[in-house]
């Protein structure tokens, strides 16, 4: 064996970095929990939000009560039955319908009074009664709107068939932009990119770093010539690649499987996602610089980043309809800026006035979190 000689003390940074990055990848490949978070979770979330969760009301069960059945009532009911918004249930009496509403079998009652046919002949038209179960306010409001719409349509058709035009003082011409079919899936699935990248960038990174503390491997790394920045850079590179993979998987499935349109530029999306990923990685590493065991790191990552990304980013709940205080809080949630970028890029296109300020915010956040990590992680054990 060669005698120990005087060695050059530093240098070989590239070799060290390559060694560290390769180590991270080997660990990712061998650790089933990394694979689960990076690839299984995204697919699970996509399927859940793509197929399972919907903010639209569809096939709403409604009870129909005609106190004096006639051709007109039958015609109106038929129009409801043909709509996919409703799943009608015929009730003989109002009392029976109310019972069904109380038992939760139907969400609404449409009642046509005994004088329906009579009233219809008068110019003022016939009133109908709609009773809605208001417990779920969102569905209630939607159901109410759908019934009103269906009623308006039927009246117009009815008048036409009588050779009259319906006298309406103002006619509302509706146009829906960006998501013309009003599919909530088109709105939810792009936001998922932000959620999934938070999972990979923050949760996974915080966990793997805490694991190195726990298992004592970091202590061994720290006594090698590798500097703390090289150790951190190795992690950033590996999880940046993994996060980009998660992003591509999500975008691919969104466009390919769920037919969500991508109207903006893919490369712009890529660039913004990279900025967001840097911020998410920064958060994960900053957490692990403080929380040195996996349990605490996981808790902090979920409560501090994943849940806010879910609830306060505008991914599901519109930020503008939140109370002012909560709106203020959303400004420190990194995912908020990225959610608004993805939703714009997917549904509206390259709207620079939205993308640029949000991208700048992402850049700032990434710089802050990575800066904090840099300062916090000295090459010491205390």
């Amino acid at each position: 064996m060669s005698a120990p000689e005087k060695q050059p003390l530093r240098g070989g940074g590239l070799m060290r970095l390559r060694g560290l990055v390769r180590k991270e990848f080997l660990q990712i490949v061998r650790d089933p929990s990394s694979i689960a978070i990076a690839f299984v979770m995204p697919i699970f979330l996509l399927v859940l939000f793509g197929y399972g969760v919907s903010l639209d009301a569809d096939h709403v069960p409604v009870a129909l009560v005609a106190e004096a059945p006639s051709a007109d009532t039958a015609d109106f009911f038929a129009s409801l039955e043909s709509s996919h918004y409703f799943a009608p249930l015929h009730a003989r009496t109002l009392a029976a319908a109310e019972q069904a509403l109380r038992e939760g079998q139907v969400h609404a009652i449409v009642r046509l009074r005994a004088d329906f046919a009579e009233q219809l002949r008068w110019p003022d038209g016939a009133p109908i009664q709609v009773i809605v179960n208001g417990v779920d306010a969102n569905t209630a409001r939607l159901t109410q709107g759908y019934v009103e719409g269906a009623w308006g349509n039927w009246l117009a058709r009815h008048a036409e068939s009588q050779g009259q035009t319906l006298a309406t003082p103002v006619e509302l011409q509706q146009r829906v932009w960006f998501n013309s079919e009003l599919r909530s899936r088109d709105y939810l699935v792009p936001g998922l990119v932000a959620i999934i990248m938070t999972l990979i960038g923050t949760l996974l990174t915080a966990l793997v770093m805490a694991r190195e503390w726990e298992r004592g491997t970091l202590e061994a790394l720290l006594v090698t010539p590798a500097s703390m920045s090289e150790v951190l850079l190795g992690k950033i590179i590996a999880y940046f690649v993994l996060g980009t993979g998660g992003m591509l998987l999500t975008v691919g499935l969104a466009v390919g499987l769920f037919d969500v349109p991508l109207r903006g530029s893919f490369w712009l999306l890529w660039a913004c996602a990279s900025l967001f990923l840097l911020a998410a990685l920064g958060m994960g590493l900053a957490i692990s610089a403080v929380a040195r065991n996996q349990f605490v790191a996981g808790q902090v990552a979920i409560i501090g980043t994943f849940l806010p990304a879910f609830l306060l980013s505008g991914f599901i709940f519109d930020i503008d309809s939140m109370p002012a205080v909560v709106q203020g809080i959303t400004h420190v949630i990194v995912a908020r800026y990225f959610v608004s970028i993805v939703q714009t890029l997917f549904l509206a296109g390259d709207v620079w006035s939205v993308v640029l300020p949000n991208a700048l915010a992402l850049l700032l956040m990434a710089a802050i979190f990575l800066g904090v990590t840099w300062r916090k992680s000295r090459k010491r054990l205390e």
Partner: protein
């Protein structure tokens, strides 16, 4: 240049504060280590060994004083120091999900070993550690001894001038321990490396060229181990009385005036007397009537005990008369075995952790299970306590079949686990109360038992203190007290003494002996070879099987050979393991 100190500390101090607690890990430590030697850093857990290692490697910043390694300031020039020295932390620093080769490659990259030089260096390291056939195996699947050698190989990918090894031999089997020492000796001899090695095993001190004795953050003594044991010259004896059990003899000797240490060693008691005490006086001690007294050469441990005793004058002897009441002494059951195990097996996945173990333990016997980590000791224990079902075989504890009456049997067993299972955020008294109530004690009985435990284990001054704040030795006492609250007739002790200092260990064994004298059956696992000597009988375990089962003296006698006329327990252990390996290869 050659004689310049390779590691030098001056008035080093370091304290840690966590959760309002202040621990002075190191307090005014100064030493100088010359190059080209193995220096042992010796001391019990919590002495400050790891803190000292980390300070030397520049991983911690001292509160006061300074430390220089290889002529560089460890604190201010930490990157340069780290590039020049090798450091193996306590848990070896291996990535368990990387293979042996991948771990080596990683550390070679980090140490900037040129690609061209690697093949040769790897070859040398694999040859030295014997890991050659396992390069593709994941590090997590290696045995404890192999992990330790891989950890060492990783720190050696670029031969450092100074090698720091933090407790490299803890929990490793004696064979691997011996191999590691051979490697270390070779590095020093052939490569001129300097090694600082910390250990809690006192017998390892004698292999070092110099030692630093550390206790509670202070240096007790330093110098060549021979000078420390030489001080004990003329003060060490082997005594025995025909017809008297060594354990009873030891009980009569501990705490007597003039006696520093009395230790059961197979069929005799090893006695250390105070400086200046007259050997003739010794014979007059009542316990030594008609005794045979022979002078024996001093050991390093004797010197260490003497130093510790001089520092802490407390160490009152344990008489243990009140440790047990009549319940466990129920006579009339004769010599029928209290624990009977037949063909016990336990499988985890494809792996047989315990593979056909049979033994029987009589009432009042101290039975030891000796083996390295992973030999199957703890698994056997958990099955005996009814905590883990057996895959095959029969188990009878206190006359009850554990398959059918596990909870009844458990009421008659006391169990002290490796990690002590105390509630850190409960006070000492609350822990005692909790364990008493868990065993169904209530009201006055519970109060009586609590008072008994506080008095017997000298815990009364700490009754209100959180158990997390106790020192390791006191935690051990409390854990034993908790296991004895319900006056069990059988006591299971799983590695009860790992990490505690030698004085606490002696005191602990005095309590065990007292319990056994009172009729309690004691089963104890250990990886300390010397502790095996304190047992009435012991079983040596390796890879889930019992290699030998007998009285300690008989086991040692079985290993007698021309080369080792007086084999130690470790010699006997290694012989047995080697014989078992040879038999397996032949089969």
């Amino acid at each position: 240049m050659d004689d310049a100190p390779i590691l030098e500390a001056v008035d080093l101090a370091k304290a840690f504060a966590a959760g309002g607690r202040h621990t002075q890990a190191l307090d005014g430590v100064s030493f100088t280590i010359r190059p080209g030697a193995v220096t042992g850093l010796i001391g019990p857990d919590g002495a400050g060994k790891t803190t000292l290692m980390r300070l030397a490697a520049g991983l911690l910043v001292p509160d006061a004083g300074r430390i220089r390694a290889l002529g560089l300031d460890s604190t201010r020039e930490s990157l340069a120091v780290q590039a020049a020295l090798g450091y193996m932390p306590q848990r070896f620093g291996l990535y368990e999900d990387l293979s042996v080769q991948e771990n080596l490659d990683l550390y070679a990259d980090l140490q900037s070993v040129p690609k061209t030089a690697r093949a040769e260096r790897y070859g040398e390291l694999m040859h030295m550690t014997g890991l050659g056939p396992f390069t593709r195996r994941l590090a997590g699947r290696l045995s404890g001894g192999m992990k330790q050698k891989l950890g060492l190989a990783c720190t050696l990918v670029r031969a450092p001038r100074l090698l720091l090894l933090d407790e490299p031999t803890v929990g490793v089997d004696p064979v691997s321990r011996r191999e590691l020492w051979a490697i270390v000796d070779r590095l020093v001899r052939d490569e001129g490396m300097s090694v600082l090695l910390s250990t809690a095993y006192l017998d390892e001190a004698e292999r070092c060229q110099a030692v630093i004795l550390l206790d509670q953050g202070r240096i007790l003594d330093q110098g060549p181990p021979a000078t420390i044991s030489a001080r004990m010259g003329g003060r060490t004896w082997a005594v025995s009385v025909t017809g008297k059990r060594p354990r009873d003899l030891q009980a009569g000797l501990s705490g007597q005036p003039g006696v520093v240490d009395a230790l059961v060693q197979g069929d005799h008691v090893r006695l250390v007397t105070q400086a200046g005490s007259d050997p003739a006086q010794l014979a007059r001690l009542p316990a030594l009537q008609d005794a045979r007294i022979d002078a024996v050469p001093p050991r390093f441990e004797d010197g260490f005990i003497d130093l510790l005793r001089a520092r802490s004058s407390a160490a009152a002897p344990v008489h243990g008369t009140s440790l047990v009441d009549g319940r466990a002494q129920r006579a009339g059951e004769g010599d029928a075995p209290v624990i009977q195990v037949e063909g016990l097996r336990r499988r985890f996945g494809k792996f047989w952790a315990v593979d056909g173990v049979s033994f029987a333990v009589r009432r009042g016997e101290i039975f030891g299970l000796l083996g390295a980590n992973g030999a199957g000791k703890s698994t056997t224990f958990r099955m005996l306590c009814g905590l883990l079902p057996a895959s095959a075989g029969t188990l009878q504890v206190a006359g009850l079949d554990l398959r059918h009456a596990a909870s009844t049997a458990r009421g008659r067993i006391g169990y002290m686990s490796q990690k002590f299972s105390l509630y850190g955020n409960l006070s000492v008294a609350q822990n005692l109360d909790f364990f008493a109530s868990a065993y169904g004690l209530a009201g006055q009985t519970r109060e009586q038992r609590r008072d008994w435990a506080l008095a017997e284990f000298e815990l009364a001054p700490y009754a209100g203190q959180l158990s997390a704040d106790l020192s390791l030795g006191y935690k051990q006492r409390l854990a034993m007290a908790c296991a004895l609250m319900h006056q069990p007739e059988i006591l299971f002790l799983d590695e009860p003494t790992s990490g505690v200092d030698p004085l606490a260990r002696r005191e602990f064994w005095q309590r065990i002996n007292a319990l056994a004298r009172a009729g309690v059956t004691v089963l104890v696992t250990t990886h300390f070879m010397e502790e095996a000597e304190y047992c009435d009988r012991l079983a040596i375990m390796a890879a889930g099987r019992i290699l030998a089962m007998d009285e300690p003296a008989a086991i040692k006698a079985g290993a007698r050979s021309p080369k080792h006329p007086e084999p130690s327990m470790e010699d006997a252990f290694i012989r047995l393991v080697e014989a078992a390996d040879a038999a397996q290869e032949a089969a």
